[in-house]
């Protein structure tokens, strides 16, 4: 499968979606004006991935900030992976946050409330 590798900017995140190396990661900040333009190719990639997923899928979010439009797209991404869980596949979300950023932890917990995917919370230390 094609690898998505996008370097982050001031208003868009780093994205690595690499099936072969089993790396699915979104990091940095996400506040684009047009969220669809940025995320649509990623959503299409996920649809393709879900047709023949890896044995175990780990989805990493290491976001320092995202705007509300991005938060809606993040839910769309999670809902796609939820279908994998429903199909009996192993999926886990690793939600990374800095210890002093409670808002980011809460954002993860809210997603975990909405979707049926196990969440693991990882404290970023740097």
């Amino acid at each position: 499968m094609e690898v998505i590798k996008i370097k982050g900017t001031d208003d868009t995140p780093n994205v690595i979606f690499d099936k072969e190396n089993n790396t699915l990661e979104i990091s940095g900040r996400s506040l684009p004006e047009d969220v669809s333009m940025f995320f649509d190719p990623i959503l299409i990639w996920i649809d393709q991935y879900c047709e023949s997923p890896n044995e175990k899928t780990v989805l990493n979010f290491k976001l320092e900030y995202f705007n509300t439009a991005s938060s809606k797209v993040i839910l769309d991404i999670l809902l796609k992976f939820e279908e994998l869980v429903e199909a009996g596949k192993s999926v886990i979300v690793k939600w990374h946050y800095h210890e002093d950023e409670e808002d980011m932890l809460e954002a993860g917990e809210e997603y975990a409330d909405i979707v049926e995917i196990p969440f693991e919370y990882v404290i970023i230390t740097d």
Binding site: V35, A69, K72, D103
Partner: protein, 194 residues
């Protein structure tokens, strides 16, 4: 000296007075940013990174920095998506933006033109979020993020809820009537520093 020159001098003097008054007011109220003009994504990026640098220089905690950044983005993107212009022919989405600091808080004040027919919905949304506590806001956020769709303007209908969640304080707002069908909407969001 002819009268035209006299007038020019007077105008010049009153402008200098104004500039000095503005400077004094900004100093007294620790206003770090004032802007009036079109609000675009470029402006949003510039102002948020400028404010971020200022806050870091003032050694504000990461949490406060993040909240101020967050609220600024939502306020500015609200203007760039929803602001109206003075007339139908004009398509620019303009607004004013101000960031001020006091002993215990940061205020982010934005103002923009809004059509009067949107006001009932706007004020109802503001009253709704202002009347909810933390858990209530979280529930409303989850409901809206599940049910909402990204609009053709790229909004998710979550901006005001998010501001209320992140600030933990009530937003204040004012409306000044400009004409039969338009008003000026001023929104103040407050972030506590401790």
């Amino acid at each position: 000296m002819n009268s035209e020159m006299m007038n020019n001098l007077k105008e010049n003097q009153s402008f200098l007075d104004f500039a000095y008054q503005l400077y004094k007011t900004m100093k007294t109220n620790e206003i770090s940013l004032v802007y009036e003009g079109e609000v675009t994504q470029e402006i949003t990026k510039t102002f948020t990174s400028l404010t971020e640098k200022n806050l870091a220089k003032n050694a504000e905690s990461n949490m406060v920095q993040r909240k101020v950044f967050n609220v600024m983005v939502e306020c500015l993107q609200n203007i760039s998506k929803h602001a109206d212009s003075l007339s139908e022919e004009d398509e620019e989405r303009r607004g004013i933006v101000m960031v001020s600091k006091s002993d215990d808080s940061y205020n982010i004040i934005t103002g923009n033109i809004v059509k009067n027919d949107k006001i009932p919905y706007l004020t109802k949304s503001l009253e709704t979020v202002n009347n909810l506590d933390k858990d209530g806001l979280s529930e409303l956020y989850k409901k809206q993020i599940k049910e909402g769709k990204i609009s053709d303007k790229g909004g998710a209908g979550l901006g005001l809820i998010d501001i209320a969640k992140k600030t933990g304080s009530k937003m204040t707002y004012q409306l000044k009537t400009l004409s039969e069908d338009r008003s000026f909407f001023i929104l103040t969001s407050t972030i506590q520093r401790n």
